[in-house]
Amino acid sequence: MAEKILMKGNEAIAHAAIRCGCDGYFGYPITPQSEIMETLMEEQPWETTGMVVLQAESETSSINMIYGGACCGKKVMTSSSSPGVSLMCEGLSYLAGAELPCLVVNVVRGGPGLGTIQPGQGDYFQACKGGGHGDYKMVVLAPSSAQEMYDFVDLSFELAFKYRTPAMILADGVIGQMMETVELRPMKPRLTNEQIIDKYSSWATTGKTPDRKQNVVTSLALDSIIHEQLNNTLQAKYRKMEEDDVRFEEIMCDDAEHVIVAYGCMARICESTVEMARKEGIKLGLLRPITLFPFPTNEINRLVPQLKTMMSVELSAGQMVEDVRLAVNGRIPVNFFGRLGGIVPSPDEVFEAFKKAINK
């Protein structure tokens, strides 16, 4: 039987990294996610799998270390929380522009500014709409349990390499700090340098051998025609992701007349709200986007004809709700409920807000 261990969501990220064949972690401490690097340092994976772990001087530096590692075709990752991820946005733009795969974990806290160390979901726009400069997207996965924190590490790398793009795990302080049992998946070995050359020598800086041209990893293209082509390539990848890699979970949506859309820790809370509503005879369902980009637009589209209202519930002032409204396109009312400041609402608080909104 697979090994199950009680651990924090953050610790699950670290164990998953070691066990899925990650080559390197480069990070900078910040609450509420410091356990990721602490666990890695304690585990000393360089002694076992050969994974490199390094504490950088800043988030700016961490993300650029990721850039270097990703250039080499290595599986590399970093993690941080909101203010730190803001510092990484320059690097994320370069990574996206240079078509490099990597994983960035953001255990979101309340903002703006230094904000609070309590949980938040106010980085949705930053994660899903760019954050850095230019027209780029990342694969964004939103775990709602410690097990998903674990499983999404491997999945993120898979998608990042499939599309040669940065992937982000957008968690929140609740999911990062919460302890749950986590099933450890079988160990995957790291790729050898020879395997990396076989798979990625068309672009990775593995060392220029006489049998191939030099590889140059760059996001620079001063020729307008070439630069537009590069952008079109990126956009084509994003459209492909929207076609092939949307992930979501539905609870009680089959007969639903109302649907709450919530991700991460709020999806867990709204699950209880759905149960409460059902007890009162209200046909409420829950749509939990697992990929925030690509967003489950088509699924919302499919649900709208059977629904009276939708409601986005977030630990923000209303960010994902904009994507829900774009998908609904004015056909039914889309309500919103959110708390700020690191306050996590209870299921009945959400239920009250829901009832108030539908009886308006």
Binding site: G24, L54, E57, N64, M65, Y67, G68, G91, G207, T218
Partner: protein
């Protein structure tokens, strides 16, 4: 000896290293970058490490270094090359990894990255081109711009009161325990270019020995930015740059 004799292989006295591509350089006539590129390419060729060398190019005039030196390159964000090189070297300890950075890139926006890479003693080589001005953006003040020097952003000359003094970052880096070799060179004549080549070779050899970070500053000219002819720029550099940035080894462990 007529031309047919001259072109015979046995009479050849000089040839361009194949590590230097045949692409026409975009640098202004008289610029030091081309010479330093050539020296790096020759060192890579002579050490036989073309397959094992990864370069990290900066933002600035040398962003296109990858067009001229025929190895694998990573183009870094402004100032971040030492962080990029850190991970590359740690994940590929058997490779030779070097950054090539200008004064704005290394000594202004990238000070944190270069300080900490040197302090950790990353086994990388850093080539630092100091021409005391921002070339690519059109001649603005650099951290290494001399007092009194006129640039696009110091049209009346750099003053200590307004801008602070020129930053001798090479001396600072020599203080760090992670650096094993810190030297300042130039390429304004054949003798100095030969010395610089020896310094670059030594830096690459240190990297293989795992001695720590090797740092080679090259005091350079920027004719366009300085608004001087190539010959005048060399003279100006010797007269004005060398007193502030004296050439020679600062640290050699």
């Amino acid at each position: 000896m007529d031309v047919n004799d001259i072109i015979k292989p046995e009479n050849m006295v000089y040839s361009k290293t194949p590590v230097l591509t045949s692409t026409t350089m975009h640098y202004c006539p008289g610029c030091s970058h081309g010479t330093v590129h050539k020296l790096i390419a020759e060192v890579i060729d002579e050490m036989g490490i073309q397959e094992k060398t990864i370069g990290v190019s900066p933002v600035g005039c040398a962003v296109f270094a990858y067009n001229y030196v025929d190895i694998d390159w990573q183009q870094a964000a402004h100032g971040r090359a030492p962080a990029v090189a850190t991970a590359t070297k740690r994940l590929h300890p058997e490779k030779y990894v070097f950054t090539y950075q200008g004064d704005g890139d290394l000594a202004s926006i990238g000070t944190a990255e270069i300080m900490h890479a040197c302090n950790r003693g990353e086994n990388i080589v850093v080539i630092f081109i100091n021409n005391a001005i921002y070339g690519m953006t059109g001649g603005q003040m650099a951290p290494t711009t001399l007092l009194g020097m006129k640039t696009a952003t110091t049209p009346y000359g750099r003053t200590k009161e307004l801008h602070g003094s020129p930053l001798r970052i090479t001396e600072l880096l020599a203080q760090l325990e992670g650096t094993c070799y810190v030297t300042r060179q130039s390429v304004h004549n054949a003798a100095s270019a030969r010395k610089t080549k020896r310094a670059i070779r030594k830096a690459f050899e240190n990297s293989a020995l795992g001695k720590g970070t090797s740092f080679v500053e090259v005091v350079s000219t920027c004719n366009s930015g300085w608004k001087l002819s190539p010959v005048k720029a060399n003279e100006w550099m010797v007269e004005n740059m060398f007193p502030k940035y004296p050439v020679g080894d600062i640290k050699d462990l």
